[in-house]
């Protein structure tokens, strides 16, 4: 088991940006009245945001980051690390982090790279950034940009993905600080489940050919091509209800944390049915488990910071909080983190 602890890293702010366009699931042609009610009850997703063709994840993240930098009154010259976690980059190459470095006007001395992870991405990104901060010569600041425009990968005639997912970008600000508590991590990977959430074609294992565009009927209400996301809901569910509680319990046990002392448990927003199973298995009360599924759906790696911004803004701004976050999904990849926040900067949700 990969248990990691990092000291001297402080989260000082979190911001999020979503596209303006709202898609209401009740207006979706994928459902009749009865199946719509079952879908909304099961997933908890009533509506979500969709980015237009000319808006990329980087655009959402940059907008969130600019506001956060402004509110924190950061000097951009002090940002030495930029990590972009996404599976919807601007280009196949170069890395989107390089594009963002220029667009944000960060120093050319900036360390920048992309990480390709989804649902577990914010937790992984947090670990990478906080570890990197320790090895900086001049202990300064880092930006973790996390998000996806995952609807660009979803077939409009796939009821297992299109009504569930939403687009969002987030920015998390981190600083080296010797007067802050440790962060604790528990990280895992199981590639045997890599086909549970996959886009088959368009990488280099299966390059794009004419047949990549052929539509396949993969079950009732699920028609998509091989350049679009395929989700094996049953496999992912089975994985999530087992691994997420295991990881949270392992984190608590290994680092001897007091579960009752936690203010919030922040779970990746997979769908309400799965998340509620996880919450009940861990015996955590509903008040400690915020949801953003209803208005934003499953926003891939953005779910945890987006939930913090939209559901906990006042609490995060005004008091000290002890939190456990757990991301789980595509890879399969999952991990949990314990972190504290103390009156951090949280700009209002931005819409573009």
């Amino acid at each position: 088991m990969a248990f990691l602890s990092v000291k001297n890293t402080k989260i000082t702010g979190i911001g999020a940006c979503v596209p303006k366009l709202i898609l209401e699931n009740k207006q979706s042609s994928l459902f009749d009245t009865e199946s719509l009610a079952a879908f909304i009850n099961g997933t908890g997703v009533e509506r979500k945001r969709k980015a237009p063709a000319d808006t990329c994840t980087s655009d959402l993240c940059i907008t969130a980051a600019e506001q956060l930098i402004k509110d924190l009154q950061w000097n951009k010259e002090d940002i030495d690390i930029l990590i972009f976690v996404s599976q919807t980059p601007d280009y196949v190459l170069p890395a989107t982090a390089c594009v963002i470095q220029e667009r944000l006007g960060l120093s050319t001395d900036c360390y920048a790279m992309d990480i390709s992870l989804g649902c577990s991405g914010w937790v992984y990104g947090l670990q990478v950034v906080s570890a990197l901060l320790q090895s900086l010569d001049k202990k300064r600041k880092a930006l973790l940009l996390v998000g996806d425009t995952i609807l660009k990968f979803c077939s409009e005639s796939d009821k297992s993905t299109y009504p569930l997912f939403g687009d969002a970008g987030t920015a998390t600000a981190l600083e080296y600080n010797e007067n802050t508590g440790k962060m604790y991590f528990d990280m895992h990977t199981d590639g045997s489940g890599h086909k549970a959430i996959i886009i088959e074609d368009g990488g280099f294992r299966k390059q794009v050919t004419e047949s990549s565009f052929a539509m396949h009927n993969r079950g009732e209400g699920i028609t998509s091509n091989n350049l679009q996301l395929i989700l094996d809901g049953m496999d992912v569910f089975s994985f999530g209800i087992q691994r997420a509680p295991q990881s949270v319990n392992a984190l608590i046990e290994h680092f001897q944390l007091d579960k009752e002392e936690m203010d919030y448990f922040l779970f990746h927003q997979a769908n309400l049915f799965m998340n509620e199973k996880i919450r009940k298995k861990l015996q955590i009360s509903l008040e400690k488990v915020p949801y953003s599924l209803k208005d934003f759906g499953n926003t891939s790696s953005a779910t945890i910071p987006l939930t913090m911004v939209t559901q906990l803004q006042k609490d995060l701004q005004s008091r000290h909080l002890k939190n456990i976050a757990c991301g789980f999904g595509v890879g399969l990849s999952w991990g949990s983190v314990y972190f504290e926040t103390d009156c951090i900067t949280v700009p209002d949700l931005i819409e573009i």
Binding site: S35, A38, G42, S160, D232, G233, M234, D235, F237, S238, F239, I241, Q242, F273, M274, K277
Partner: protein, 74 residues
């Protein structure tokens, strides 16, 4: 087997308990849905501590088929 059928039937709201037997082709039940499949996966996880996959549900026809999968994984 009987206990398994009882647990299986408990996931359903509108289907008569008498409709559930070891030979019931569960995917033909009107109330069967993708969400119901998830309930069954969760039930197996809770009651039997066994992780069944989408493939297991897809390959099973009757409740007995599924019971045999659960038994083989215990």
């Amino acid at each position: 087997m009987e206990a398994f059928i009882k647990h299986f039937a408990a996931q359903f709201d509108d289907t008569e308990v008498s409709e559930f037997t070891s030979t019931t082709v569960f995917k033909d039940l009107e109330e069967w849905s993708s969400l119901m499949a998830l309930s069954v996966i969760a039930m197996v996880d809770e009651e039997y501590g066994v992780k069944i996959k989408g493939e297991d549900i897809r390959n099973a026809k009757t409740i007995e088929d599924l019971y045999n999968v659960v038994k083989s994984k215990q």
